[in-house]
């Protein structure tokens, strides 16, 4: 068990300085996401029409399709580590680690902000920088590789996509509001709200995604067919 767990050094302060939210602890999605009206452009509709869930879903390769797809996964842990100059977000899903430097756009890295524990970077998660505004953490993300905001419906993101994530506390609820801005895909910003609850845990186990595609399985029956 110890081998497969990351032990987090969690901040234990009751509140962060300067009114910033104290996001310490382990969080888990606690309800369904709420979406704003989605009005896709012709380009987005064309991408969606071409999308084949059984082939194109990046999840088949244990890869995040978008930051939204990662926030949306139930029953997996999320943890924040807040420092003076950055926020580090650990997602149990796909063992992702996301480094968000704090400051203006100049601190945004050229490389993707998210990698898994094996060191593989994921450009579909974009490059991020963040800041605190009152009691909210604001994360702005750009430089996305084309991906899917919703893999079940093939709602796309593009290289033009900019996302704004607002993260704040409301009692025991952690709210994540993600706004997708992309004139090439959406007639108006597409907003998704996610509620999270703090869970009484301190560890971030490894997810260890494997065999997400069906190649290994398909080969079994191919072999059977070929043997006939």
């Amino acid at each position: 068990m110890i081998k497969t767990c990351f032990f987090l050094l969690l901040m234990s302060s009751g509140s962060a300085a300067n009114g910033q939210p104290d996001l310490s602890g382990i969080w888990m999605l606690s309800g369904r996401a709420a979406e704003s009206e989605l009005v896709m452009t012709e380009k987005a509709l064309a991408i969606q029409a071409e999308y084949d869930l059984l082939v194109d879903d990046p999840s088949l390769y244990c890869e995040p399709a978008s930051t939204s797809r990662v926030w949306a996964n139930p029953n997996v842990r999320v943890a924040f580590d807040q420092a003076d100059d950055h926020v580090h977000i650990s997602y149990e899903f796909y063992d992702l680690r996301r480094m968000v430097p704090l400051g203006d756009e100049s601190v945004m890295p050229d490389s993707p902000s998210t990698k898994n524990v094996d060191g593989t970077y994921f450009a579909k998660m974009g490059s991020s920088f963040g800041r605190y505004e009152g009691d909210r953490l604001i994360i702005e993300t750009r430089n996305h590789e084309p991906g899917y905001i919703r893999t079940s419906r093939g709602i796309p993101q593009s290289t033009d996509t900019v996302t704004i994530e607002e993260i704040w506390l409301d009692g025991d609820t952690l709210n994540v509001r993600q706004t997708y801005i992309d004139d090439t895909l959406f007639a108006s910003p597409f907003v998704i709200d996610y509620p999270f609850k703090r869970i009484d845990e301190t560890e971030m186990p490894l997810y260890e995604c494997s065999d997400a595609d069906y190649d290994w399985f398909n080969k079994l029956n191919q072999t059977e067919d070929e043997s006939e």
Binding site: L54, S152, D211, F217
Partner: protein, 398 residues
Amino acid sequence: MRQFLALILMLSSSANAHHSTVANFTQEIITVDGVIEQVRYKNPHASVLIKNTGDNGKEIFWLIEMGAKTTLERQGVTLDRLAVGSEITASGQKGRRQYTMYLQEIVFEDGSVFSPEGEAADVRDKQIRAELVQMADDFVSFRMMQGFEHEMPLAEAYRWQDEMVEIMEPAMGAVVGYKTGGHDPGPGFATFPPEGIRAYILAGMLRDDGAAIKIEDSVVGFLEADFAFRVGNASINDAETDLEILAGLDAIIPFAEVPDPYYDPDTRTINGTIVANMGTRMSFTGAPVMIEPTAEWLQRINTFKFAVLDENDKVIQSGTMDGWYEPITVVRWLRDQLRESGKELLPGQLLSLGNVGIIRQIHEGSPRGPAYESNQFRLEYYGLREDGPATVTINIDR
């Protein structure tokens, strides 16, 4: 071996985990039998690989998928029962990929059944039972009961209250009646359901009229002036009019109690209050006042006056039922609530209808108010008996 499809539409949908169950699987329910070749307890999908042999002898591998390992682990579900080599029949949603299925249940050769939902429910039930045992032990041992934080419908909370009472019966005796609360027009309690709450009265809770309690007989207990009926006959279960309900009752029971809701205040919930049987500790009963099913008695019951007095006959507080709650209306609610729980009222059972507006704390430092300093809490009801007040008395042995 056979393979067949059961064309049944499934209405439920599973939680979206790694990939969307709705998107990756159809609504068509299929059944496949075979021998378990592999059990894969992993992310992003737990699964069972089975080999099906058709009538023509052709062998086909089927992938029987489940939720992610993380989800199953969180629910306490293991796949230990799924042994390689077992002959099983699996049912579930047909996958959009060939030879795949999202598992609903697996039936073993001996007829036993495995389903992730069933296993998760069993795990949860065991956990809740363990919590109830602890809660009951804490209550009878005067230790603080911890919160019951399970989200569930009220009906399920009442089913767990039944189990709680079964656990408590060896220590506190058999069921002799019910109590209810939350029906008066006063401010409601955050830990009561808005429509009212009910709990059991057990034989071991009953005390004689005039019995003395010690301060240490409760932890956070309070003296509460109540009002109760006794069930006269089973006709009350089908009674429709107020007079018919009254005909199912044979007596008013002067009734006072000492609840002891010693819960962790930070974790107290509505469901917790229900399953903890409202922290019911001691109930005091006076001499019955026999009643008749008449309009005149209905009038008396709805308008009688009452007071609490101390050992020096000093009136501590007085009041009237007029404008408080209508006793027969509360009996009807209690009867109907019990019926929804599959219970019928039995002759002889007590029905305590709740506080009539007078409560005094026993212990110092209660947020509910100062401690009662007198040595007697005597509740008198006026206008119910011809020869004087009906009474029930709690003495405090300091």
